[in-house]
Symmetry: C2
Subunit: 208 residues, 2 copies
Amino acid sequence: MKVRRRAGRGRYDQKTINAILDEGMVGHLGLVTDGQPYVIPVLYARVRREIYLHGSPLSRLLKGMVSGAPLCLTVTLLDGLVLARSAFHHSMNYRSVVVLGEARAVDDPDEKVAALEAIVEHVIPGRTQDARGPSRKELKATEVVAMAIREASAKIRKGPPIDAAEDYALSIWAGEVPLTLVPGTPAPDDRCDSAVPEYLQPYRRPAA
Amino acid sequence: MKVRRRAGRGRYDQKTINAILDEGMVGHLGLVTDGQPYVIPVLYARVRREIYLHGSPLSRLLKGMVSGAPLCLTVTLLDGLVLARSAFHHSMNYRSVVVLGEARAVDDPDEKVAALEAIVEHVIPGRTQDARGPSRKELKATEVVAMAIREASAKIRKGPPIDAAEDYALSIWAGEVPLTLVPGTPAPDDRCDSAVPEYLQPYRRPAA
């Protein structure tokens, strides 16, 4: 998919695309059932030129899914509101990636373990050293899908609003309101008496 | 679409669904072209039982779109990471809504103006009193699509991890890391000498 509108916002280099995919935590997966598109939030991890997807939210939809079904995964990072002098030029600052590819069921237990580890490490680097790994039964109960990146494109908007020349004379506040996804203090559950692990002191996106 | 997996996370009442749609800023729109799903980030506004979508990012995709094409709009609010003792029970706290409906092109100028105002007000309540409204030319250049909410379902996960009974004996930190989308200080552009408007002091989601 080529980015045709607002050509200035199109970015194609793989480094940019990977950085956005790696900073994101939740992606939105598009799939088609009987002509109806569905979009569901998913956890994922990029490993080289593939994306691993996981989980129960997919189960019902994956059940009918033949290997080779076309998928779309979109990851969007919201960076700010852009307030222009005219309603027309209002916008958002964001970085997003759209990936197209085909579904492949991951059944091999070793690949499944590696994929699940990659997903946990993607969201919380360091965590797999700590958490108990999956049992054979848990592994069986978990669906994992791989999606080879057939096509990917990024769009980025940053910076101040761009108003029509004559609108700069108007006395209207214009600028940006930055938005940041901020992690709070880790809150242990009621039965936890372990110390907060290093990789949460603090938790950061993207990981340092 | 009924939520079949993790039935406890399914929420159907309209008040819950509307609250999530109204707190979200960016939705992910799914549509199908030649069997390929596409998912694109969009600004939107809910007005009663319809969702208005807008904009240039849609243009290329909307061009081929017949009125009546099935759409899916998903809005996800990320509330936190859920770290369980087992990798298997790791999760996210989130609130999401999946809306299914059909596309309807909005061509009537009055409805178009109202829809665009609704989108701006949805993201920044109070802003349309301030910003210059669209000229006839701008209005013509803006595509607006309405989507009647045919079906909607919400999923919510909150609270601490739920581990397998025997895993609570493990000395592994477990709990939540809250995530919040935090607005920063409004930054005027270089040519702005107006005071920061009241509706940005501070900017809040959801609006009070």
